[in-house]
């Protein structure tokens, strides 16, 4: 358990969402252990007595996240309600608790997967592994980031940006990391055998995480070899894909896809519709933000855009499609394949980008990175236009 605590503390640091030495990760079987000593663990330990949890992640995020969550928490004193897919599907909302005490935190943590404590940080528990706390912590920061930038754009459209919002926005925007424009040099395809496929997928997965094109380490990745789609497993870390790739025959002759990514059906749909060999799916932030930016304030589908948008929307020529995670009548498995087949890249409303390649992962990676960079530029162009 101690090893797991250390692993996920280290991952938070490596992602740059926490300063080195900042995360506290605790794990409990019959004895509670922490990744490091800290006087706050005494208070946090009392949460294990009050909640049915086996792990806990707590940290003050690095900038710009601290500024973002503190700002959002001030404007939403009870709970923050982002509208991206991650929140809608898993987090629901993010409660705000103003007191760093086990008594105060136990209530909201009994109801939700993460809690923001303004001035202190974000806390997220797990019932199975510290990995859950890590995921919820990262997802909370991602969702708040998307909400903050989306809200600013929406407020500009309404002419409702106040001085404080502008000040915080400018500070946060100035602190964004510089663009990475050079894609990595990934393995050339076509791949000779299954081992080469798996190695190429693992390499591409690490690159997607390394370039920050996903929320925590999620997203998915696949490669078609003959009549078999190799795809990352559900909940797998894109930077640790070795041993976490399922071979799924397109004819359905085995059910190994039972543990495959929830987007297997969407990937299969693309492979059936287009002559492509690889698909990358990430959650690049500004792509997600712009997928949700719509000027039609009077649209009858507003509030249901993620499933009901009937417009043929594009961002820089890239189609934006509605659709929820997985299957079902409103699943993105219905909307995404024709869009990717036609354009090679598509963005799912509030969710993320899917990009395909005919030969190997160099082409979809370039598409993913190029689209995200263009979305970031476009976002600030829109801000500039609306600010005039």
């Amino acid at each position: 358990m101690k090893d797991l605590c250390a692993k996920y503390a280290r991952k938070l640091e490596e992602q740059g969402v926490c300063a080195p030495g900042e995360p506290l990760v605790g794990g409990l079987d019959d004895v509670l252990v922490w990744n490091r000593e800290d006087p706050r663990t005494a208070e946090l330990a009392r949460l294990f007595d009050r909640l049915s949890i086996n792990s806990l992640v707590f940290a003050r995020p690095a900038e710009p996240y601290t500024s973002i969550i503190d700002f959002l928490a001030a404007r939403n004193p009870e709970a923050i309600r982002p509208e991206d897919t991650e929140t809608r599907t898993f987090l629901h909302d993010i409660p705000v608790c103003r007191e760093f005490s086990a008594e105060a935190l136990a209530g909201p943590l009994a109801r939700r997967k993460s809690v923001i404590i303004p001035g202190h940080g974000v806390i997220a528990p797990g019932t199975v592994s510290p990995e859950q706390g890590f995921v919820f912590f990262s997802s909370t920061l991602f969702s708040c980031f998307v909400l903050f930038f989306s809200d600013y754009l929406a407020a500009l459209r309404r002419g409702a940006v106040d001085d404080e919002f502008r000040r915080v926005f400018e500070r946060v925007a100035a602190g964004l990391p510089s663009l990475r424009t050079e894609p990595p040099d990934l393995a050339d395809g076509p791949f000779a055998d299954e081992d080469a496929v798996v190695a190429a997928m693992a390499e591409a997965g690490r690159a997607v995480v390394g370039y920050g094109l996903v929320d925590s380490f999620f997203g998915n990745i696949s490669c078609r070899a003959g009549d078999v789609v190799h795809i990352s497993q559900t909940g797998s870390s894109l930077d640790e894909l070795e041993g976490c790739i399922d071979p799924c025959p397109l004819d359905g002759s085995t059910t190994h896809g039972l543990t495959a990514s929830s987007e297997l059906s969407a990937h299969e749909g693309v492979y059936r519709s287009a002559d492509v060999a690889c698909i990358l799916h990430g959650h690049p932030r500004f792509s997600v933000i712009l997928s949700m930016d719509c000027a039609r304030a009077d649209c009858p589908n507003r509030g249901r855009c993620h499933v009901a948008c009937a417009e043929c929307r594009t961002v820089e020529g890239v189609p934006v499609v509605p659709g929820e995670v997985g299957t079902g009548p409103t699943g993105l498995c219905n909307t995404l394949p024709p869009a990717v087949a036609a354009s090679g890249v598509a963005v799912v409303h509030g969710h993320g980008v899917f990009a395909s390649g005919r030969r190997d992962f160099n082409e979809p990676f370039s598409r993913l990175l190029g689209f995200e960079n263009r979305c970031r530029e476009l976002y600030f162009e829109r801000v500039a236009d609306l600010s005039r």
Binding site: D29, D30, I53, R111, V135, T234, L258, S262, G328
Partner: protein, 583 residues
């Protein structure tokens, strides 16, 4: 006057088979607040009588719905059958699907308690408030004959078959032809009272406090279900039934083969879910109102076996003919036998005697079990009669389902400490050890598993008591179901608070087992798993379980669960959970 309660009806039906009379209980609000419904409230009514023998007429046979049963909440068609097991003598709960629980609720009853013993074979017929105990001529008939006679639109039927009538502790209660309370011999408990069937018609509706809030809660749960590959994916249960697990278990080297002597089955690729789909062109169906629809029915009307029966009637007994799997499972249904224990008894005999399991011997063995033959007492009874009890692959006498514990150490611990015996369903470690939900854990370690197990047991006890299917918890959690609970009942509760009620429900069952002499000696696995390896290969090592590591993990579980070092409840924990330790 309309009940002021929402979710619950506030009424429990008590039928005394000795007198043929029915009475109405009105549980206090405190009972619901402390134990929810379903498994929790059923345990409450069993508790005072729990030291009586399984066939004592005063021992209640309980069937309870939960506050969400029969509402629009996803997968909320469940009820729990609970009594002492004729097979194990432990407290035995069976989560039951089909339409029985929903119709009982719509008839205006939160639960049914049966006591007494009829002089003649009888059935209980419930039509809203009209309750009758009727003499029946269906005794001796197979369950399908009962369903042919009694089933109809708007009516649910639960029935026992010849296995129960002839005294087999492997006897199930079959519900609506394709569903059942399978494990631990509940059918024999019914037949001992000469109860052949229960039929229920319900024309009412379940009162919901806030329909709008319930719709929002349902949308969140359905969204999570849709995002679950194992439930709703192309290869998931909604498409391929639970038999979708077949490929996965074999590839993970967890397929119980030849009475758990091996963990891979060479014929598996010919017997997977896809093979059944191609051979039988099945259509999905499910429990009343459930959108997942995890069961499959072939064009000829037979059900495609669920995963455990599919695996045990093939790999466990050394059979590579899917048609024999189909016919054996269907025969179990007609005779009212638990297919898991029936196949386990055959596998045990095959190991002891060398007698093959084929198209000639399997049907004979099943009829033999249902008519008092040497296998009718189950694998442990048979192995003991051969002075080789260690060859019964069971815990507390309940045969293990189709997951080899050498391939998932949380599963090993879950089998051992389950209050009803060799079963994974209370904790379902498959979820994280194989299916990667909510996240993946290392299946080859006991580290951390004690507390994970306890948390999962509490969660599933709450689910069983809400009236919700455990399978949906592969996608959603109590966090989402708490919203549904509040919407239905009007009572505020967080997921954490429901979880705490689950802890009380689990501990209540531990107390009842302890009063009947259960302790650490019974919380153990067959010795084979500590001495024989599984099928290593493909980069996966499958050594025997480390006995010391297992015992250490079990000791940690006892500490986490608040038990003493012998696995018995303590006054401190019982007090904290507001439970009585004494009989």
């Amino acid at each position: 006057m309309a009940s002021p309660l929402c979710g619950w009806t506030g009424r429990v039906l008590h039928v005394d088979l000795s007198t043929g009379e029915a009475a109405v209980f009105h549980p206090s609000p405190r009972v619901y607040a402390r134990l929810l419904g379903g498994r929790g409230v059923a345990g409450h009514y069993l508790r005072a009588h729990c030291t009586l023998d399984w066939d004592d007429p005063d021992l209640p046979l309980c069937f309870f719905t939960g506050p969400l049963t029969g509402t629009a909440a996803p997968a909320s068609s469940r009820g729990v059958l609970l009594t002492r097991s004729p097979l194990t003598s432990a407290v035995s709960d069976c989560s039951v699907g089909g339409g029985l629980a929903v119709r009982l609720k719509r008839a205006g009853w939160d639960g049914l308690i049966v006591t007494g013993k009829s002089d003649v074979p009888c059935g209980i017929e419930i039509a809203d408030d009209d309750v009758r105990v009727v003499e029946t001529g269906l005794w001796g008939e197979t369950t399908d004959a009962v369903f042919d006679r009694l089933s109809g639109p708007g009516t649910s039927v639960a029935a026992v078959g010849p296995a129960a009538e002839n005294g087999s502790p492997l006897a199930s209660v079959v519900v609506d032809r394709f569903h059942a309370a399978l494990r631990g011999g509940p059918g024999l408990a019914w037949a001992a009272r000469r109860l052949k069937y229960v039929s229920v018609r319900g024309t009412g509706a379940v009162r919901v406090r806030d329909e709008g809030a319930l719709a929002a809660a349902c949308e969140a749960i359905r969204r999570l279900a849709a995002a679950s590959p194992v439930l709703m994916g192309r290869h998931g249960f909604a498409s391929r039934g639970t038999g979708a697990l077949y490929d996965l278990m074999d590839s993970r080297r967890m397929m119980p083969t030849d009475n758990f002597r091996a963990t891979r089955f060479s014929a598996a690729p010919r017997l997977n879910a896809e093979a059944y789909r191609r051979a039988y062109r099945p259509e999905p169906f499910g429990c009343e109102g459930c959108h997942i629809r995890c069961k499959l029915r072939a064009a000829d009307g037979r059900a495609i076996p669920d995963y455990d029966a599919m695996a045990h009637f093939s790999a466990l007994i050394g059979n590579d003919d899917p048609e024999l799997v189909m016919s054996a499972t269907a025969l179990c249904g007609r005779l009212g036998l638990d297919p898991i224990s029936a196949a386990s008894a055959m596998a045990c005999r095959r190991e002891l005697t060398g007698e093959p399991c084929d198209g000639r011997t399997v049907p004979l063995a099943l009829h033999d079990m249902a008519h008092g033959g040497p296998l009718s007492g189950g694998s442990l009874d048979f192995a003991e009669s051969c002075d080789r009890p260690e060859l019964s692959m069971s815990v507390k006498g309940l045969d293990l389902p189709a997951y080899d514990p050498r391939g998932a150490y949380g599963m090993a611990l879950a089998f051992a400490v389950n209050t009803r015996g060799g079963c994974h369903q209370h904790a379902n470690p498959l979820s994280h050890e194989v299916l990667r939900k909510p996240v993946a854990t290392d299946r080859f370690t006991f580290s951390g598993k004690a507390r994970i197990l306890k948390i999962a047991e509490d969660q599933n006890a709450a689910a069983d008591s809400l009236g919700v299917c455990r399978l949906i918890f592969l996608a959603a959690g109590l966090e989402e179901y708490a919203r549904a609970y509040t919407a239905v009942t009007g009572l505020e509760a967080s997921g954490g608070e429901l979880q705490a009620l689950g802890e009380r429900i689990c501990y209540q069952e531990r107390i009842m087992n302890s009063l009947n002499g259960f302790g650490d000696c019974e919380d153990d696995l067959p010795p084979r798993f500590f001495s024989e390896p599984g099928a290593s290969g493909g980069g996966v090592e499958m050594p025997p379980l480390d006995r010391e590591a297992f015992l250490a993990a079990r000791a940690r579980y006892y500490r986490v669960r608040g038990l003493d070092e012998s696995g018995r409840p303590t006054p401190e924990t019982a007090g904290r959970l507001d439970l009585e330790l004494e009989p």
